[in-house]
Symmetry: C2
Subunit: 465 residues, 2 copies
Amino acid sequence: MAVDELDRLREEARGLAVEMVRLLASRRAVVSRIAELKRSSGLAVIQPGIESVLRMAMVEEASRHGLPAETVHRLASVILSDSVTTQERKTGQQLTHMDILRRAVEMQRNGREVQRLEVGEPDLGAPQEVRKAVSEAVLNGFARYVESRGLPELRAAIAEHVHERFNTEVRPENILVTPGGRFAIFLSMKTLLSPGDELLVIDPSWPMYKQCADFVGARAVPVKTSLEDGWTPKLDEVEERISSATKAIILNYPNNPTGKMLSRKYFKQLVELARDRNITLISDEVYADYTRGEHVTVLGEDLKYVLIQSFSKSYGMTGYRAGYIVADEAHVSKMASILGLIMTCVPEFVQHGAMRALTLRETPKQYADIMMRRMDAAVRELEKIGAEFYRPDGGMYVFPKVGIREADGMKFALDLLESKGVAVAPGSIFGGYDQFIRISLGAPEESIVKGIRLLGEYLREKGLA
Amino acid sequence: MAVDELDRLREEARGLAVEMVRLLASRRAVVSRIAELKRSSGLAVIQPGIESVLRMAMVEEASRHGLPAETVHRLASVILSDSVTTQERKTGQQLTHMDILRRAVEMQRNGREVQRLEVGEPDLGAPQEVRKAVSEAVLNGFARYVESRGLPELRAAIAEHVHERFNTEVRPENILVTPGGRFAIFLSMKTLLSPGDELLVIDPSWPMYKQCADFVGARAVPVKTSLEDGWTPKLDEVEERISSATKAIILNYPNNPTGKMLSRKYFKQLVELARDRNITLISDEVYADYTRGEHVTVLGEDLKYVLIQSFSKSYGMTGYRAGYIVADEAHVSKMASILGLIMTCVPEFVQHGAMRALTLRETPKQYADIMMRRMDAAVRELEKIGAEFYRPDGGMYVFPKVGIREADGMKFALDLLESKGVAVAPGSIFGGYDQFIRISLGAPEESIVKGIRLLGEYLREKGLA
């Protein structure tokens, strides 16, 4: 009896699923027609406003039937990503930032002198004290599986450091030790964004943010800023870009690539906006120590946030892969269990190095001084060649406009490299800023000066300056 | 004109999406009734056969309308996971393996003697040569960002090692250096399994496999094996569990927790089955060196595979977080870009340590000797207390049946710990083997002997032996 009824119900359930497939196919046909119309009228494929309307309509229908929001959001993602695939025409293999790097290395191997201003890594190296601490820890066998969230001693030391440096009380329970800043960003996005959710990104931005959002199945929604506005995002534009699917916004000040630092007043307005809309703020502050002025931090703000920090810049520990997160305790636990699942823990001896680093009060200042001296030199040289740029408040990059006319920044960067031996990161990779290039201060001062002079030569020869 | 038409089409597309939500809600109601019926008749929530029928019906409908297979699989996942949530009743907070570990540490802190036979970490430590190599590399500043796939020298050394050890030709292009075996498993699952795809897992199994499958949104489908069958999976059962959504099967021999090693003949049959069904084989061979007999490897087999290896067991480098993958070149590139995205690279100095390790031909043999001596002791003691178990062919665990009558292995393990000071991993966590416990050989021999004797005492007192 029960078995017959079960079979009947199963068939009904199956029928409904098949009917959904049929509807999706019908929808696809409609979307194809939309795409055709768009092509002839020149409209963009992704229009965030339109998607929000669709999502809202779906959520409304779902709530009428008691369907959970999570399920309907997942369904919406399937439907929306099918639309985008339908509408997008495959573009050819694109050149990336890595092509510049690879070509620069290749040229150096062939004996060419290259000014390596494309790298995102300071050349400072870790202080001897840190190296010694790691070395001793390794020799003494500090290489066992340890707690996923990090050694209790290190978390306590970070909590104290944060207190001292940013005047904010945090507890060791709020700290998660990560294998570098990238991993910290991955963990925060993975836990905050479900497939189909949206992340606001202020452009120009470090490409990793969008790539990582994409990796976790979320969609990065850009808010454009401009040199003319001093790279300050407009509050009403940020607000406009928020949809029902927006779960987080990522900020990165001092900024890569512009060197912009937000004022405290403006930062507070962003915080308020995020809080009002129940959006988590991911604040990537890895360049906090590379600044002249006051660093404005998310720490202590009254909203849900994730602070991203790293030992790479402040202590020159790039290849050690050590960073940390400050977030609320429950969120830290969630991220710690992912870290534990996919890599157990950060190597114990690396954590010993991080612990030693935190005792070095002068190192971040010394390293910042070096960067600021290079910054001054870069600014001076850029002014000489007449480039337009925002004078950085901090960070380790300058982002001048080079005024190229053709719309392909990558081609410009490759040509500059081939003809003058100057490697830079093309502005195109930071969100389509083809007329800009990013000059890194990770190289020695003389290399920066020489590189910018050669850039000036190149621009004059091409009639661009 | 075009704008009006666009608006009309958009409304149509939106209407179809909303209609899909309505159907999903109807389906949910039907599934609830199925769940009620099941509860009264005692059937399981997940019945893979039924799901395959549903998927096939959906794929068939999709192909009729030219909808891509990927889209319909994603839609099926949304529908199926909604069904499972509907049917599952929330269970209370469950005890985990970590509770045993935590309690054991706590008892030790309070001065109790505890035999730590629950750990999955050998106590051997890395050889002095490896420690020195890492120490020197750190002191000399080998801590820069390096290639995501690993140092060319290390990949060349691994390729050579693999050739020598397993008599299989692989190229450095087939190698990816990872921060440990867990990360290697994560990368392989992340790249092989899309949400909704299925992974076959042979139970009892290391819990990480299912957790990781779940983490990437895939579904782990267990194939049960039994002590009576010598933990050999039945080929027809493996075949039965394969559905149109099965993309990979994960094997782990020598096995954690049983110590089972498959015969070459049987392994070949599994390989053939996987190849015929176009399923990728993930072979976790991290215990390859802990064996007496011949190790049967996937290397050199003619199918799509991913080999998982680690420096943790063969060289005692647990906390260094160093492992590697062998796979086809295109797949390695894909995994390398994920590794690069979320953590740049494995620390350069750790890779120097791995390089030094590979020059130590005797270390893996010495470490294996220690493990095999402990294994003999464990087997002897288990025989004395009359436990039933499979005599391990390799690995670092024994998995005896302790014949508890109640169906809660976790409670048994906790009670054994509290009353006798013996920490073991309950069989329940390896796929519901409540009548078994896993004894680790990661502890010194006297601790293993003492622990098993105390276990014998406990079983006698409880009338279980």
